[in-house]
C-alpha cells in the first residue's frame, strides 16, 4: 500500500488561509496536509512553552502523524540536519498563508534538492550534527546534576546521622517486608533513576537487603506518585491507577526473582 504524501506546516490558525507561524514553539497549530487529496487536519500544538526542544517535539509530533516533510518560518540548521538524516525534510523560510506555502512546496519539491549539493555539504552536516549532539548531551547531563548533587549531599547527611542500627530496624531482614518497604519508598520518589542507584548502592552498604534495594530501584521509575496527576491528565484515571498498581505489584516478584537468580548464577559462575 502506498501511503499518501503528507506534509506539516507550523500555523497561526487552524485553516489553510492562516499564516505560516514563524517558529514551531510559537505555532498555535500544526496543519497536517495530504498533498494528494488536499485534505488537512489541524493539530493544536502542545509544545508552545518556549522551552528548549519544543520545536523538536513539535516536529516529532508531526512526523508521528505521518508527515514526511515539515515547513516553517525558522528553526535552527542543526534541527534541519538532524531530521534530514532520518529522512524528514524540514524546510525553513516559509511565509504567507499555509495554502501558498503548500503550493510553493509542491512546485519546488518536484525539482528535488540536488544530490550533489547534499553530498558536498555532507561534512558540514556531520560536524553540525556532532555539535548538536554534544550540546543536547551536555544539556541532559547538566539537567541531571542539580538533583544528583542534592542526593549525594543528602547521603552525606544520612551517613553522618543515621546509624546502621536505626536503618536495620526499618529493614528487619524479613524478605517480604523489606521488599515491600523498598517498593513503597521507590514509589514515592521520582526523577532520574541515577539517583535511585546511588541511594540503593548506599543502602546496600548499610546492610539493607538487595531485595529491598531492587524493589526500590524498580518502582522508582515504574511507579510514580509524584507524576500521577500528570499521568491522569494524559491518559485518564483508570489507566494511570491500573498501570501504577500493576507496576507496584510486579516490582515485588521482580525483586525477589532478580536476587534469587543472581545468587544462583553467581554460585554457578564462581
Amino acid at each position: 500500500m502506498v501511503e499518501n504524501m503528507k506534509i506539516a506546516v507550523s500555523a497561526d490558525g487552524s485553516t489553510l488561509d492562516a499564516k505560516v507561524a514563524n517558529r514551531f514553539n510559537t505555532a498555535r497549530y500544526l496543519l497536517i496536509i495530504d498533498l494528494d487529496t488536499s485534505e488537512y487536519e489541524a493539530v493544536p500544538n502542545p509544545f508552545t512553552t518556549g522551552q528548549h526542544g519544543a520545536g523538536i517535539q513539535a516536529i516529532i509530533l508531526a512526523v508521528s502523524r505521518g508527515a514526511k516533510a515539515v515547513l516553517t518560518g525558522y528553526t535552527s540548521p542543526a534541527v534541519v540536519n538532524q531530521f534530514k538524516s532520518s529522512g524528514i525534510e524540514v524546510r525553513t523560510g516559509m511565509t504567507g498563508t499555509i495554502r501558498d506555502a503548500v503550493e510553493q512546496y509542491k512546485t519546488t519539491s518536484s525539482v528535488k534538492v540536488s544530490g550533489t549539493e547534499t553530498e558536498s555539504k555532507a561534512s558540514v552536516v556531520n560536524k553540525s550534527l556532532l555539535v548538536h549532539a554534544t550540546k543536547s548531551s551536555l544539556r541532559q547531563f547538566v539537567n541531571l546534576l542539580p538533583i544528583l548533587i542534592g542526593v549525594v549531599l543528602l547521603i552525606g547527611l544520612f551517613n553522618a546521622f543515621v546509624s546502621e542500627e536505626w536503618l536495620t530496624s526499618f529493614f528487619s531482614g524479613n524478605m517480604a517486608l523489606d521488599t515491600l518497604w523498598g517498593a513503597f519508598f521507590g514509589s514515592i520518589f521520582a526523577g532520574n533513576p541515577i539517583n535511585s542507584y546511588v541511594i540503593g548502592g548506599e543502602l546496600l552498604k548499610y546492610g539493607v537487603s538487595l531485595f529491598a534495594v531492587t524493589a526500590f530501584i524498580v518502582t522508582w521509575v515504574t511507579v510514580g506518585l509524584v507524576q500521577l496527576p500528570a499521568e491522569i491528565a494524559a491518559f485518564g484515571k483508570r489507566f494511570a491507577f491500573l498501570r501504577n498498581t500493576l507496576s507496584f505489584v510486579f516490582a515485588l516478584p521482580i525483586a525477589v526473582l532478580t536476587v534469587l537468580i543472581v545468587n544462583l548464577l553467581g554460585r554457578w559462575i564462581s
Binding site: 524528514i88 554534544t134 538533583i147 530501584i217 524498580v218
Partner: protein, 177 residues
Amino acid sequence: MSNSNKQRSGNKPIFNRMFLFPIIILVIYAILFSVLPDKAGQAIRSSGNVFLSMLVPLGLVFVIMLLINLFLKPAAVAKFLGKGSGIRGIALSAVAGIISTGPIYVWYPLLKDLREKGAGESSIAIFLYNRAVKPFLLPVMIGYFGWLYITVLIILTILASVVVGFFISLYPSSQRN
C-alpha cells in the same frame, strides 16, 4: 480532536523541582554548620567520597548519552511507537521506552496524542515500564551492582513490562473514544 494545550503546564514542575531539592539540602547544611559544625563537616566529607566514586561512571554516562544523541533521532522513537501489533508492536514499544531520554513529562503529550491516533494502551504501558531500562546509566548501575545483577534485572524488567501491558489490555479504559 482534543485540545492538548492543557498539557503545557505539565512541563513546569520539573524545572522548579530540579533546583528546589538541592537548595533545601543546602539550607539544611547551612543550618547544620552553625549548630553542629563537626557533624556538618563529616557529612560533607562523606558526600565528597560518594561523589568521587561516581566520577568515572559519570564520565561514561556522558559518553553514552552523546552516542545515543548522535545516532538515535527522536523522530525514530516516535516512528516506533504505536506501529505494528502483536509481538512486533510489543518489541517496538519496549525499544522506544528503552531508548527514550529526558523527563517523563516531555513524553506525556506525545504519548497522549499517539493513543488518540490509535496506539494501544498496552503499548503505552510497555513504553513507560521500559523507561526503567536506561542504557546510558549502565556504567553507574554496573559500578554499584555488578553486571550480572544488571543483566538479570533488565531481562526481568522487560518481561514484566509485557505482562503489565497484557493486563492493561484486558481492562481497556472506558475514556477512550
